[in-house]
Symmetry: C2
Subunit: 233 residues, 2 copies
């Protein structure tokens, strides 16, 4: 097991909420330890000489098989309620480790990140510690270990609140898209169907879109305009 005590900072971890989107559903990537029926967010630890950002990218790649994610750090969780060494003790015992005084049984303050990806174009793979990794519908999440359900909720708050500024970074849409495609992203993530005219007025008012030629699909009288995100100045 590549988690020797002297290699890692004690008491600090990270967790990541990977939102998946396919046009109609918002999903979240969850790891499972089968024998224990324990569900968790993908997370990990920071090596003693490793920058935090590097650790998160490395760990997430190891635990999910996903590379090149745009991750947004959103909050660090440090309550005492998140200190429950029993779950980690069982996971370690299950894998045949000597657990007395194991550094993983200590208290961890965790730095939380989120990402938003199109789940149809990636295939996550589980790491050695966990037995499976799967997409769960946001509204049908299992009960997660420790405070991971709370972390998911806070991640969604941040995603919704900053969608206008972050959407470009998440690279969810084709380079040119219609207002209808853009609205579909918002409706799915906000969890509500917005009024079409109001949505268009709001988006154009934000001054983040560039309008291009119409999308002619032949015959239609209502060929929609295509838009792209304005390049950052």
């Amino acid at each position: 097991m590549p988690l020797a005590k002297e290699e890692y900072l004690p008491n600090i971890s990270y967790d990541s909420v990977i939102f998946g989107f396919s046009g109609e559903k918002l999903k979240i990537l969850i790891l499972e330890y089968h024998n224990m029926k324990t569900f968790a967010l993908p997370g990990g630890f920071v090596k003693i000489d490793e920058p935090l950002d590097t650790a998160v990218k490395r760990g997430l790649s190891e635990r999910t098989g996903l590379d090149e994610l745009y991750l947004e750090q959103f909050r660090t969780f440090g309550s005492m309620e998140r200190f429950s060494s029993e779950v980690m003790r069982k996971i370690l015992e299950e894998q045949g480790h000597v657990v007395e005084d194991h550094w993983l049984l200590g208290r961890f303050i965790t730095v939380a990140y989120y990402a938003l990806i199109n789940y149809e174009i990636v295939v996550p793979t589980p790491d050695k510690l966990s037995d499976s990794i799967k997409w769960y519908d946001f509204d049908q999440l299992p009960s997660l270990m420790m405070d991971h359900n709370e972390i998911v909720e806070k991640a969604l708050d941040h995603l919704r609140m900053n969608l206008d500024q972050k959407l470009l970074s998440f690279n969810l849409l084709p380079e040119r898209f219609t207002m209808k495609e853009l609205k579909q992203v918002y409706d799915t993530i906000l969890g509500e169907t917005q009024n079409r005219a109001n949505f268009q007025r709001k988006m154009l008012g934000l001054n983040i879109l560039e309008r291009h030629e119409k999308l002619f699909t032949g015959g239609s009288h209502k060929a929609p305009f295509l838009y792209s995100f304005k390049k950052a100045e």
Copy 2:
């Protein structure tokens, strides 16, 4: 010195950017270690059985004399560049401590917070570790230790980006205020004078203000309306 090794989590600290505002200037609260000519943000450490949020409130109260601050956590900094034990070694030596293997010489990942207060109604007081605490104009900050200047910049980015949502929490304005007073807050914090008509249109469009009776000061034909923030639903 109340910083015994067994009392605190190693490798984790917090730092706070306290913005002060008085209508015309944006300032920042800075600690100084006189003999060393070292300037730093007020920060501190987390006790092993203390929730992160509690630690931050306790520490900030001890180090600045300020209580009841509304603090917003905005980012956790964990690069290797911020690991420079020399400054801390000198501070400890200066105060007569045995520094070999001192836990404060280790690498620290720091959770950063910001607050925004009216600096005319508070009197900060320095703690035992530092020699003075003072307000510095934002555009005349001294060079701060480690990555503290970068932390200040990132805090300002967050403050500016989220001003519409956070202004109410920061409690800067009287309960009822004029559009002119509100614009003064924005102009100071954003560092630019905005067009009056555009500003008013934008603020009213945000749907966060409630309009009340006009402020009659006697004789004026241009008595301005008073506004308050809408109560959260």
